[in-house]
């Protein structure tokens, strides 16, 4: 907490410098590349492959924005940031946007003076146990030893959850995910708890993933989303509606496969037409080309395609859509209308 207060103070100091160059959209267009902050590496969300090309779910958002603004999904300069450097990088103007599985919280939005433009992944803290333990619900975990990363909000969430259900547990403090993996496999703890996406990625690296189960209970809200600096609403709109375009495209059945057909001429659905720029002038309102959304969706596909390709059930990580399904399928993804 202290650290974030310190970073917050720095951020405020940096904003005075950053606000001078408020027209990020013009800067990006003039520069010809988008500076996008990502993690230094998180399985499925952002990592360079063996040829050095960045790939992943968060990376997909960066590429979509670059495609919408500049027409080229490759025109992205990825700036790797750690949990400690990400906010200063954004505040100081080193990056134009941050797509680094960052939880949308009150203090980050208000106190650190950032603007979360939406949620691209609804995460939450979950539990993983070995199958042989025979546990099917977190309510059965009374008296368990739990591997937990120290100094994180997961530690507090865990304490809250067990207290609320009047259960006892014995924490095994660990420092990193790698350490947790080893401790958990060595049997130093019965349960490992962290964000559900992290649990899935960790389990995917196990020799026998099927011997471990993720419990259905999710004990915290971790909405992860891209963010930009306060005070540049035009740029915030561009990023927000690019993300919304990806989500709406899935809802409307626009995929990277059929988008060329759909965008070639106005079709029957007025909303698709407005989204793809064959009708209306939404692109112009954003200060972009009429086919901005077409380019954004063509970059890596719509939201569902990005999900399936990077973290979905066909990948080794194997995350189910869950909360991240469209609202029509019982999930939380709900793009405001394109009108």
């Amino acid at each position: 907490m202290k650290k974030s207060v310190f970073l917050g103070a720095l951020t405020v100091a940096g904003l005075t410098a950053g606000a001078a160059a408020a027209a990020t959209l013009d800067d990006v267009k003039a520069r010809g590349t988008l500076n996008c902050g990502v993690t230094t590496g998180l399985v499925g969300f952002a990592a360079p492959d063996s040829n050095g090309n960045w790939d992943g779910f968060d990376v997909g958002v960066c590429r979509a924005v670059a495609a919408a603004v500049l027409g080229d999904p490759q025109a992205v300069e990825f700036v790797p940031t750690t949990g400690k450097t990400r906010f200063t990088a954004l505040a100081s103007g080193e990056i134009d946007m941050l797509a680094r599985n960052t939880t949308w919280t009150f203090s980050r939005d208000v106190d650190l003076k950032f603007e979360f433009v939406g949620v691209n992944y609804y995460d939450g803290q979950g539990f993983m146990v070995p199958k042989e333990l025979g546990v099917s619900s977190a309510k059965d975990l009374d008296g368990a030893t739990v591997c937990i990363q120290t100094g994180t909000t997961t530690e507090l969430n865990l304490a809250d959850y067990f207290r609320k259900n009047s259960m006892n547990y014995e924490p095994v403090p660990i420092e990193t995910n790698a350490e947790a993996q080893q401790q958990y496999l060595a049997g130093a703890c019965d349960v490992y708890t962290t964000d559900a996406s992290g649990l899935a990625a960790t389990r995917a690296a196990f020799e026998d993933p099927s011997a471990h189960v993720l419990l259905p209970e999710i004990v915290s809200k971790e909405p992860l989303g891209p963010l930009v600096r306060h005070g540049d609403n035009e740029w915030g709109d561009v990023v927000r509606w690019t993300l919304n375009a990806l989500i709406a495209a899935e809802e409307l059945g626009v995929t990277s496969a059929n988008i060329a057909d759909m965008a070639s001429a106005a079709g029957d659905s007025p909303e698709i037409n407005r989204l793809l720029g064959t009708e209306g002038n939404l692109g112009e309102m954003l200060g972009l080309e009429a086919d901005w959304a077409v380019k954004a969706i063509s970059a890596g596909g719509n939201y569902g395609e990005l999900f399936e390709k990077n973290i979905g059930e066909t990948t080794p990580i194997g995350l189910a859509r869950g909360l991240n399904a469209q609202w029509t399928d019982g999930g939380l993804l709900y793009s405001p209308p394109f009108r």
Binding site: A21, T40, G41, V43, A47, T81, A201, E207
Partner: protein, 430 residues
Amino acid sequence: MSDTHAESVAYVRDTMLPETPPPAAETGVTKWMKQNLFATIPNSVLTVAAIVVIYFLLAATLPWILNGIWNATSIRECREILEGATGGCFAVLSDRWNQLLFGFKYPSTEYWRPALAFLLLFVAAAPVMFFKYLPRQLLLFTGVYPFLAFWLIWGGSIVPPLLLLLGFVAAYVAFKALEKRGFGVAALGGLGVLIVAIILAGSIGKIEVLRLEQVQSRDMGGFMLNMILGTVCVSLSIPIGIALALGRQSDMPIIKWICVVFIEFIRGVPLITLLFVANVVLAYFLPPGTTFDLIIRVIIMITAFASAYIAEVIRGGLAALPRGQYEAGDSLGLDYAQAMRLIILPQALKISIPGIVNVAVGLFKDTTLVSVISMFDLVGMIRGPILASTDWNGVYWELFGFAALLFFVVCYGVSQYSQWLERELNTDHR
């Protein structure tokens, strides 16, 4: 004489018996083992215990190494090939070899440049390291090397490094010309010429000659980054450390206090704090839009850190010299600079070698700390991109073992060299 006992003794041997071999227990391996491994009962117990431990260590690691998989595209493929048998997944090393050495953004067509710079490093270092055995003319190459290596690794036009080199040559000439007037005047004169040359190089350095593809600092990575930081910072921090150590012993109060404050402040702050300052805080003090090269910022911080430590080591060496050595210098009529250069420092530095090497080795390993400020050195590459790729998530031992091996080879080499150097310089009669 020989006849004296001819009758009284029945038989006298007149030839020497051939030498018989010593008893089996007193020779060769048996004796060595008896003396060194099984001399006493506690010794024997310890020996047997050690053998058991070594056996278990080898039994655990050898199959893992020998059975290792070198050709696979992901950790899952490794496991399929192994089918549950013990074995390392070394395929990650072959798959990500270039990334481990050069980082993931260095253009792959240009890998020969840092590799060549690395080989030339040995050519450049040899005349300094083995100064007794190689002709002094080779030192010229050592002088040229930093500029050559900069041009090779970062690319761009050859003109700026060349101008900078000429600046240094001009500064040296100025120094030599002024040397008669005293060391201090000459040093100041040389510094002045150098600054003028740097400014000149900055203004006319735009000419494009022998252009290599330019590589940005943020694209450097892998073990190359550790080597760059290690060699540059060590070679810069030794002269700065000497200056600080001398400054701290100086009679001039302002210089003395500047040095004391610098050393004590830097030593009192963890290196990682300095790195965060370099990465995060400096950006706020610079005008918006200026990008002061991150590697240079980090080099400045690590050099400052190492200089403070080396200064203290050298101060220890200076303090160890008998007072008579200082007085000898004075009585010969040498001025301060001459006495230091010719009498005091050669002896003090010799005493300080183990300490300096200790700092240098520690510093080289500390370069891995840059991974926390999102620079992709060897450890940063492993912890970040490689372990975060869906293909290789979960390969810990192989990667970190490889990193440990690389660092061990370099550090052990440096340590062996320093021991050799100590023997070489051992001129007193103990």
